[in-house]
Amino acid sequence: MEMNRRTLLSMLAALPAANLISFSSASAAGVDGGNLVVGLRTSEPRHLNPAVTTVGGVQLIGANIYSALTRFDANGTPIPDLAQSWDISTDGLTYTFHLAPNVKWHDGKPFTSADVKFSFEEVLLPLHPVGKVNFSAIDTITTPDDNTVVFRLKYAYAPFISLLEVRHATILPEHIYQGTDIMQNPANTQPIGTGPFKLAEWSKGNFLRLSRNENYFKPGKPHLDELVFVIIPDTNTMVAAMEANQIDFAPLGVSFDLVDTLKERLGPEGWVIGTAAYLFRGTGSILMNLDDPILSKLPVRQAIASLIRKDEILSTVRKGVGKIADNPISWYIPNTETGVSYSVDAAKANALLDAGGLPKKNDGFRFSLSIVVSTGWAEYEPIASLARDWLREAGINLEIQKMDEAAAIDKMFTARSFQLGLCNPSFGPDPAIMAKGFTSDAIGKGAYTNGMGYKNPTVDALFAEGVRQVAPQERHKTYQKIVRTVMTDLPVIPLYEDDFAYAYRKAFIGLPPGGTHRDSYEDVAKAV
């Protein structure tokens, strides 16, 4: 297999490569047929039902077997999937979805609106880890006919339309799951979906093989015959597999520090190494515990913010992968609209601390602070080392506390027994999700909630308002206010937008798939 693929690859590399890095339809420049081998750097999924879990591997693979009402394009805009069109009432309370006709489940049975109603009411709301959080706004779901679903909301909920894709709202077959113990149903490992591919073979611990759904409801798709997922938890093995052309695409976990090496080694071998903004928008940040006696003082936090050189973090540590973030939702409220900025100024930092009654002692240090550094992220330790040097300029002694991810999450978000901490919360695709990190009722509620202990009733009220507003300009103004207030109160120092890297062989077009890169591979094809 390896030899054949090598020869084929060198043949293809000699042809002009039609590499379209953005989401695109393959019909113009691709051919039907062929297999794509995807290397996933996740742990092996236990089942393939994305409706009951948020595990990355399940979502990635499940997105090809199942469908949902909508999917995302490369910009994060919802576009049709099972719903070919929809209407939203002007008050934002009624969503009417017109379903695509003649859609069949993999077992041949017809897909109807009843499947949608069942999936939301009996699977997503009770069983999905964030189902209640996402869909508690739903009042009723009615199905006037087989091809129409009407959602009536209790209150206007702007994020709703962004939460209807396969990650958050997988549509399951009612005729398979109705009346059964959903978590134990064998269809979780032998899935019956409406997606472009069906599960053909699952060799546990080795690979999962999906084959094309001949009766997929979108004509002309999918283009590939087979889609194979190989689970490769180790980075070095993944790179070796790429070099040996045993995989064609690595969507996740090509860590940014490998980008330059891979470009050098694999670029000439016909690989495209790219970086992209991850739709769910992680922002590398320094969290500050406001319950700590030292950090509770605003001048201290401002001083720290005036010492961190974000551009250096981006260029030296992140190797240029990502963008500077000056607020927690910089992808929605641009850095320029943040309203307040903290430029690097060691003199100012020293002045703030002197004025704040925290003078330098005989050893040159004013006080010590510790920073929680999870070993699960390659960039954290270098960032902390740099921060230690920078903080020394204002007489702050920074002590680095390394620990594994589970311990770090616990210290920062549950036990809240920390001073400073590095973490990477995601507040996308909708800005309303930022509430989970900044409202007073989210303090100490577990991973990626309000670990800082930030309490501002104005901000709480603004979040409650923003989630109900539907008009885009109004929403934008509300979140602008939130961002300005938060960045003035400064419970957190956002550092960079966590773009990620991926790599694929030029022999394929339509990669990476979709906006989330966890979309289906229905548009992927071999290049001509």
């Binding site: 297999m1 390896e2 030899m3 090598r6 081998v37 742990s43 236990r46 089942h47 879990t53 948020t54 595990v55 990355g56 880890p129 964030v130 209640k132 959080v133 060799s203 546990k204 611990g205 080795n206 690979f207 093989r209 194979v228 190989v230 689970i231 490769i232 938890p233 180790d234 070095n236 093995t237 070796a240 597999a241 070099e243 040996a244 045993q246 769910f280 699960g376 620990m403 594994d404 991810e405 589970a406 311990a407 770090a408 999450i409 616990d410 210290k411 978000f413 549950t414 036990a415 995601s426 989970k436 509620k445 577990g446 991973a447 990626y448 909630t449």
Partner: protein
């Protein structure tokens, strides 16, 4: 009368052994239980954190489901009770019973371990014999240097080297995994495919053991060859070959059994690293996942399984040894 006494002695010896094994296993379970609890973070927050968050209600529901809201001593009691009836519990991280997880993964690890141990015991033994018989020759010296190198190579590094050299640069072997994606040739084809995938990881795993075996066999054989009875045999006019195969080897090879048994423990550790690098579907990576995920049932289950395996191998070694060596026979004069 004597026979009955002997049997009774044997029974008591066996019972004492069994009790100490049970005691050892209990200690392992208890210690692991405590140690995992001492580490900050719990399985739910780890599971949730890894997967981008979940609502507090969901977290609370999971906590209740897995009994994590109860005091530690109660959780410990429940765990022991289940263990007594052979229930190893449910892995939170993998969302399946621990037994099922083992059933899936253990064969892969055993295949790797056993094929590695058997093949490289033989290779090491043959190399050791050659070295001893040709003591001082150029080949012997080269072999001894090679063996020192094998001792010193870290498993991880050797694995990367072999993958890069023999799987990437020159595509002789597969980079990873146990099976190819597309295999033809029916059952035989699949068997050969697995064997081909096995070669590199088994080599990486077996290198250290091969080195140990070679050295022991060489030393042991050299020692035996100095013994009086060998000189007597030679004096009687027996050929070198007959002396070697019929007299010397049988005694010189006894340590191989022992060191194989001892090596097993080290190789079990080596198997973890090897499996990770080669993406070999075995128990290997599970231990890492269990610790990082604070998955208590899985971790304790894994430690138990390794302990049981090691104990079994140890016992087997003793039995085989006593069968082959009359000096160490149970109930014999040497006792």
């Amino acid at each position: 009368m004597l026979k009955r006494q002997a049997l009774l002695r044997l029974a008591i010896a066996f019972l004492r052994r069994a009790l100490s094994v049970v005691g050892l296993l209990w200690a392992i379970v208890t210690l692991s239980f405590l140690l995992i609890h001492l580490a900050p973070g719990d399985p739910i927050s780890s599971f949730v954190g890894e997967n981008g968050g979940a609502s507090p209600e969901f977290i609370a529901k999971m906590r209740l489901e897995y009994g994590l809201d109860q005091p530690l001593i109660v959780q410990y009691g429940h765990y022991l009770a289940k263990l007594a009836v052979g229930d190893l519990g449910y892995s939170i991280r993998f969302q399946m019973p621990v037994w099922d997880l083992f059933a899936e993964r253990l064969p892969g690890t055993l295949l790797l371990l056993l094929s590695s141990i058997i093949v490289f015991s033989i290779v090491g033994t043959l190399a050791g014999i050659y070295s001893a018989v040709n003591e001082g020759s150029v080949v012997d010296t080269l072999l001894r240097l090679f063996v020192v190198l094998c001792f010193s190579l870290p498993v991880f590094w050797l694995a990367q080297l072999l993958i890069y050299g023999l799987a990437v640069k020159v595509a002789v072997f597969p980079v990873m995994g146990m099976r190819s994606l597309f295999v033809s040739g029916g059952v035989l084809g699949r068997f050969l495919d697995v064997a081909w995938h096995l070669i590199l990881p088994a080599t990486v795993l077996g290198t250290w053991h091969m080195a140990v075996t070679q050295r022991f066999v060489r030393t042991s054989l050299l020692q035996v060859l100095q013994e009086d009875y060998i000189r007597t045999a030679r004096a009687k006019g027996l050929t070198n070959r007959r002396v070697l195969y019929h007299h010397a080897l049988r005694n010189a090879l006894l340590p191989v059994i022992t060191i194989t048994g001892i090596s097993f423990g080290t190789m079990l550790t080596g198997a973890t690293l090897t499996e990770i690098v080669f993406n070999w579907p075995g128990l290997g990576r599970l231990i890492l996942d269990a610790v990082l995920g604070r998955d208590r049932p899985l971790l304790i289950g894994l430690l138990l399984i390794s302990s049981v395996l090691t104990i079994v191998v140890d016992a087997l070694t003793s039995v085989v040894q006593s069968l082959l060596d009359p000096r160490t026979r149970i109930g014999g004069t040497a006792g």
